[in-house]
Each structure stands twice: as C-alpha cells, then as structure tokens.
C-alpha cells in the first residue's frame, strides 16, 4: 500500500466512522428522549393510615396502591402485592379458601403468595410495612420482604 492509497483509505475509514457514530449517537439520543425522566405515577412508598383503620380477619384491598393489607391478631401487619406475576392482572383474595385467584389466566396463589396453580412464574411479592413517626403505617414497594415478615404494633 503506497502513501496515496493509504491516505485515501484513511479518509474513507474516518468518514465512515464519523457517520456510524453520528447515527449511533442520534439513535441513543432518541431512545433516551423516549425514556421519561420523570414518571408521573403514584409513589412507590406511601402511608396507608393508622393501625386502627385496619380490621382483623379478611385483608383490606387498597385500590390505588394495588396491595392487600393483612392484620393478624397475634402476628401483626403484612402487605401483599395484588399484581399477578404472570401478566399484571389484579388478583382477588377469596375468603373461602384463603387463596389469591387471578382472573386472566387462572393462576392461584396460596395464603403465603406462593404459586399453586397456573402459568404465574413466581410468588406474589410482600412489601415492607413500617410505622412512621406520625403513627401511620407506611408501605414501601421497593422493599420486597419474605412472606413471613410481620410488623407488630
């Protein structure tokens, strides 16, 4: 390769590199643009009220937050996700058999959230419940806890 052809080749390679990187950067910018910087969605950690608001026995379903809050007489508070792990439908808690049933594809979860039947790939999530300073219960969906987790008040 002589000097002339080397220079020619270098110019071509540099041009191609510039073009490819320009396209790459533009594509990355488009993707970044489409990914929202702020989500205007309900917060993942929220207060749900005072312990006295929740009865013993059947769980309380919180519509907006999509969680079940359980209050057990001697064990305390716990919160389970109401979102089916299969395709995101909202599960229902049946008092009759103490299990969670998903209406979309028939997944059934046991009282501790584990999968008993159907296509769901994993158990329902349980979230951390804490008592905040103002005496309200606080649920943090970012903190997944084992199903044995309980908050004693």
């Amino acid at each position: 390769m002589n000097r002339r052809s080397f220079l020619k080749w270098s110019w071509g390679a540099a041009g191609l590199l510039a073009l490819v990187s320009a396209i790459g950067v533009s594509l990355a910018a488009v993707l970044r643009f489409l990914m929202p910087s702020v989500f205007y969605e309900p917060p993942q950690a929220f207060k749900i009220g005072t312990p006295a608001d929740f009865p013993f026995g059947p769980p309380t379903f919180l519509v907006e937050e999509k969680i079940f809050v359980f209050r057990d007489r001697d064990k305390g508070f716990s919160a389970a996700s109401a979102v089916c792990t299969h395709l995101g439908c909202t599960v229902a808690h049946f008092q009759s058999d103490q299990r969670f049933h998903c209406p979309c594809h028939g997944s059934v979860f046991a009282a501790d959230g584990s999968v008993q039947h159907g296509p769901a790939p994993r158990a329902l999530d349980w979230f951390e419940v804490t008592l905040s300073r103002d005496g309200q219960l606080r649920v943090d969906k970012n903190k997944v806890v084992p199903p044995t987790y309980r908050l004693m008040v």
Partner: protein
C-alpha cells in the same frame, strides 16, 4: 364556451376515451392511475383468481383513514377525557356512533383481509421469483396492521381497552434482557397510564399510518414492476407445439414441428432504460387476451370499492362498536381477553409466557419472512408443492384453532368452558 373547453383541456390533456390512445393516456398521464398498466390481461382480473383481497384491504384502509380523521376531531388522548369523548361520540356527536362503528369494523375487516390476502398469495405461489421481497414487505404490512389495531384498542380507555393492553404489553416484557425496558419505553411508565395512552395515540395516528402508507406504495409499485397481478395458476400449463402432418408420408415418419416465429414481444416503456425488462413480457397468444384498463379493470375496482364500503356501512348500522365501563386498574374483568386476533397468543401465554408469548410468535414471524427464500421449489402448480402447502395449511389451522379456543372456549379464570354453557356470575 371556448374558455371552459380550454380550462378542461388544460386539466385533462388526453385524447377522447373513445379512442385507444385516449384510453392509454388516461392511465399513464395521470399520476394516481399510472400505477395500473394501460392494458391488463383479462384472466388476471378474474374474481376467482385473487378474490380482490388486496384491493379490499386497500379500500378498508381508505375507510379507516377517513373515519379515523373524523374521529380525531372529537377525541382527547388523556385518561378521563378520552372515555368521556367516547361517550360523546356514542351519544352526542352527530353520526359519531356510526363513524366509530365503521372505524372499528373496518379495522377488524382489515386484519382478516390482510391475512386472507397472504393465504391467497401463498396458495397461488405468487411469492416466488422475482416477487420474494414483495412477500417480505407484505409480512411487514401485516405486522403494521396488527400494530395499528393494537394501539387503537387502548384509545377508548374502557375496561376492555385497559386490560387488553395491560396483558398485551406484559407479554412483551417476557422478552429476554430488553423486555422490561421495551415495555417501559412503549408505555412511558411502569403501568398503563396517561403516558401510555398518549404514546399509543401518537403511534396510532402518526407513526404507524405513515409507515403503512410508505410500505404500501412500495408494495404496489413492486407488483406493477413484476408484471402486475401474478398469473393465475391455471394459465401456467406449457403450450404444446403444433405438430404438422406430412400428407402421404408413412405413419412412422417423425412429424415436422412448427416453430413460432416470435416467442415473445417486449414493450419497453422508457427509451432511456436499456436492457430487457423483467416485466411486461407477453407472448403474442397472451396479447390477444389483454384489454384496456379503462374501463375493464377500473369498473371492477370501483365495484370492489363500493361493495367494501357498502358492507362496512351495513355492518356498522346493525352492530355498534363495543364500549364498556371506564377503565378501572383495580378491577380486572374475568376473564380478561386481548383483541381476538391476539387470543391465539394469549392462549399460548396461558401455558407459558416466555415460550408462548415471545419465542413462538417470534419464530412464526421469522418463518413467514423466510418463506420465499427457504422455498426453493420453482413450481407454482399445487400438485408439485405438497410440503409447502401442508406446512402453511398447518400454520393457518393452528392459528385459527388457537384463536377459536381463546375466543369461545375460555371462561372465568381462563377455564375451559364450552360456548353453550352459560356461567352465572363467575368467580368474583
């Protein structure tokens, strides 16, 4: 009067339609009509050859475009208002309910017709050389049609819309590595919410229709360049050479054979294009069977257009587009079903989300795209394509069975319930 004639002649610059030259000029001096050839082969326009499915699909798209623009005048893509606007369209806006029904039924019809068109093209072997790539364009058009239908499904913001899209987009999130982020990108959030509605709206009214129009232009252009509608299979038989008999010669003497003087004749459209074009090559025998597109083809297309519009209008008068209650993220209807053309997919997903929702459909699309390159058999005769026909028929039947099972045989909790059994209340 002279001025009027002058104005008319400045617009329409062809000869009178009573002349052959006028009939030709009508086609190739007109930007909209010149996608047609000036002359068409009579048997290509036979209804039983194509069932006009491509035309009907195109006409349904025109209905969707016009009714869609009309509906946009009364629609705001924002959660509570979107549903109120639907109620307004149904009960307040003059002809709103009718236009919405037309849009809905034409959309379903387009999904059906695109699929049937694909089947027709397959069974007549019309995807074979030189039309391989046009088949690929067609498959992409099918996917765009499904995408348009899916994005449109969310816009009413009722229970049906909300849960179909929740389930549908969650299927996508099972794609390995990128699935979750892909869903977030599509929805503009973690759940189906106001950001998702706006994004689906943008896709539905701007991005996907533009892509569909661009690719349709390519699709039709290539059909034209490859010699128009593909030849009916029944015209593919090799014509036998005539045998001449020498009078008085002994019977065992080999017969003389006549050779046609010209085997083909080529019409070159543009003098600057050199070389023999791959299109517009006809034998003299075939040329006898050609007729001018005006009026032969145009009348048939106009009839197909009128039949399509009439059918959609009639259906829309008889059946209103469904509208359920306002979307409620807390209450999943039981059973929650995706749009019918995705129910086969949902049926698969009910068994395994990754295999049924991602792997199987991806393989299906790849297989469809690869058909013209994988199928090396040059023959278009049905009897010589047993493997191809068998496999494709299996594909069609499996899809239909899955859709029928998902639509009619799935009850509350996705349990198998025959359609003639009425479930009271269901699991609540």
């Amino acid at each position: 009067m002279n001025l009027i004639r002058e104005i008319w002649q400045s617009i329409v610059r062809r000869d009178r339609l009573s002349t052959d030259k006028g009939k030709s000029e009508l086609v190739f001096l007109n930007v909209w009509l010149h996608i047609h050839p000036a002359k068409v082969k009579r048997e290509h326009m036979k209804f039983s050859h194509t069932f006009y499915l491509g035309f009907i699909t195109f006409f349904l798209f025109l209905i969707l475009l016009t009714t869609g623009i009309a509906l946009m005048c009364y629609y705001r893509p924002y959660p509570p208002q979107a549903y109120q606007d639907m109620k307004d369209l149904e009960f307040v806006v003059y002809m709103g309910s009718f236009l919405r029904a037309m849009h809905r039924w034409a959309a379903h019809g387009m999904v059906v017709c695109v699929f049937l068109h694909m089947c027709r093209v397959f069974y007549t072997g019309s995807y074979k050389k030189p039309r391989q790539f046009n088949w690929v364009v067609g498959v992409v058009l099918l996917l765009l049609t499904l995408g348009l239908s899916f994005t449109g499904y969310l816009l009413p913001w009722d229970q049906l819309a909300y849960w179909a899209i929740t389930v549908g987009t969650n299927i996508g999130s099972y794609a390995p590595l990128v699935g979750g982020q892909l869903r977030e990108l599509l929805l503009g959030g973690h759940t189906v919410g106001e950001a998702a509605l706006l994004r689906f709206y943008v896709l539905h009214v701007a991005v996907l229709p533009s892509l569909l129009i661009l690719l349709t232009i390519v699709h039709l252009w290539r059909v034209r360049k490859d010699g128009g509608l593909s030849r009916p299979v029944w015209k593919l038989k090799e014509s036998k050479l005539e045998t001449l008999v020498t009078i008085g010669a002994p019977a065992e003497t080999a017969a003389l054979q006549a050779q046609p003087a010209v085997t083909s004749k080529t019409y070159g459209l543009m003098e600057v294009v050199t070389g023999k074009p791959i299109f517009e090559t006809v034998t003299p025998e075939e040329e006898e069977d050609t007729v001018f597109s005006y009026p032969y083809a145009f009348v048939r297309e106009a009839l197909a257009l009128m039949a399509t519009v009439t059918a959609i209008m009639t259906i829309s008068l008889l059946f209103r587009a469904p509208l359920e209650e306002l979307a409620n993220p807390a209450k999943t209807p039981n059973p929650a079903k995706a749009p019918w053309y995705f129910l086969g997919l949902q049926e698969l997903v009910s068994h395994s989300a990754l295999l049924g929702g991602v792997v199987a459909p991806a393989l299906m699309v790849v297989a469809l795209l690869a058909i013209p390159y994988f199928d090396r058999n040059p023959s278009r005769q049905l009897t010589q394509r047993k493997w191809a026909l068998g496999l494709f028929t299996l594909f069609v039947v499996v899809n239909l069975v899955l859709i029928v099972v998902g639509t009619f045989f799935r009850g509350p909790g996705w349990a198998l319930v025959p359609p003639w059994v009425h479930v009271v209340g269901g699991a609540e």
